[in-house]
């Protein structure tokens, strides 16, 4: 699913990611750890296609429509409601029966009650849960999650645990975390960035 050879990323003279080799097979679950500034976020952005590598090669077998990304920002419109946000993304990702799917996800992540309220009124944990819904909306083959547990509250974290357990084996997952023990049972590969 992902094959990288000596992939690196520089911003002018600043090295954001040192040359790296990486392979992740379909259905694999890769956990990336490392100190702040070691390039975890950069690596995930490269895989998601938000940035292009400045050196080496990177092949990702999932196109934009098959990739779900959760970053540090929720990638949502603060003045739209949860339903409106998911409806827009559902439209852009050509999700079949997007209203039903959005409703199902919102219910699952405990956001059904607040579905018609603006995202600006949500707590941080709720926003992160909605961002997760956004990433899962189109049933992606490849999930790229950048420290997904950080902004989640305890309930949300439990929901994510369950979701990841469900997805392991069917979807390919690439995630970074400061707490690798949490996802250890699901991991098929581990990478520690210096």
């Amino acid at each position: 699913m992902i094959a990288a050879r000596a992939v690196e990323k520089r911003y002018g003279p600043r090295r954001a990611l040192r040359p790296l080799d990486l392979e992740l097979e379909r259905g694999g679950f890769l956990v990336v750890t490392g100190a702040n500034g070691s390039g975890k976020t950069t690596l995930l952005r490269l895989v998601a296609g938000l940035a292009a590598p400045t050196g080496g090669s990177l092949d990702v077998a999932a196109g934009r429509g098959a990739l779900g990304y959760l970053g540090h920002e929720p990638l949502l419109y603060r003045d739209l409601t949860a339903l409106e946000n998911l409806d827009l993304y559902g439209r852009l990702y050509r999700v079949p029966e997007r209203r039903e799917r959005a409703g199902m996800l919102l219910e699952r992540y405990g956001l059904w009650e607040v579905r018609a309220e603006r995202v600006a009124s949500y707590s941080r944990g709720m926003t992160q849960r909605l961002a997760l819904c956004r990433a899962l909306l189109h049933e992606p083959e490849l999930l790229v999650l950048d420290e997904p547990f950080t902004a989640l509250d305890a309930d949300g974290a439990e929901l994510l645990d369950r979701q990841l357990a469900e997805l392991a084996g069917t979807a390919t997952v690439l995630l970074t975390t400061h707490d690798p023990a949490r996802v250890e049972p699901l991991a098929t590969a581990r990478l520690a960035l210096a």
Binding site: L50, L67, E73, L76, Y77, Y89, L92
Partner: protein, 212 residues
């Protein structure tokens, strides 16, 4: 068809956001009317109608700048622009949807500004109004792209006028010409040419403005 549906969905999103927040449109409205009043005092008595026509265009360009400065604000706040870039839709659809929304906003403002101008100064001919419409296309197309560039910069609101004004000069020439010249057709055609050239350029190059 998917492309146009994407554009429509994106434009609708912007209209909905403005309807909800109601911050940009009222500001633009107040700005353009205030500007026209300032112009009344800025024109010495005996200044001809033609000078006033020129000032209309100044008012329109600066009012558009006011609106454009906020055009990408919703995308900036939650990082939604990256969300749009990640989606499988064509990146140029993002630009087109946003431009369409800005066009609607500008049009709504002009529905008030043009009659106000006619009342304060002098009535507008049909060619002048057509010129305004054609220039709107150019302003929205180019302005939306430049606003996206400015959003990537550290100095955001400061730099947008610097980027926009040189590119707006031909539009002002076309617009004023359509209003005052004895042969407005030439100027209207020129505005059409500007729109065609720059709209195509914007459409083709937006992808690169938002990609890394």
């Amino acid at each position: 068809m998917n492309y146009l549906a994407d554009v429509a969905a994106l434009a609708r999103k912007d209209l909905r956001l403005e309807l909800r927040a109601r911050d940009t449109l009222p500001a633009m409205l107040l700005f353009v009317v205030s500007t026209l009043v300032v112009f009344h005092f800025a024109l010495p008595t005996g200044a001809d109608e033609v000078a006033a026509q020129g000032l209309l265009w100044v008012a329109l360009v600066f009012t558009a700048l006011l609106g454009l400065a906020r055009a990408w604000a919703p995308e900036r706040e939650g990082g939604a622009l990256e969300g749009l870039v990640l989606a499988p839709c064509d990146r140029s659809a993002i630009w087109l949807g946003k431009s369409a929304a800005v066009f609607v906003f500008l049009g709504l403002i002009e529905l008030v500004a043009l009659p106000a101008f006619a009342v304060f100064f002098s009535p507008l001919q049909a060619e002048a109004i057509l010129g305004v419409l054609l220039a709107n296309v150019g302003i929205c197309a180019v302005g939306t792209l430049l606003a996206a560039m400015a959003a990537a910069s550290r100095t955001r609101e400061l730099i947008l006028p610097l980027l926009f004004l040189p590119l707006a000069i031909p539009l002002v020439v076309g617009g004023v010409g359509a209003s005052v010249s004895t042969d407005p057709g030439r100027y209207l055609m020129f505005l059409g040419l500007y729109d065609a050239v720059f709209a195509i350029l914007c459409w083709a190059s937006f992808e690169y403005v938002v990609s890394e």
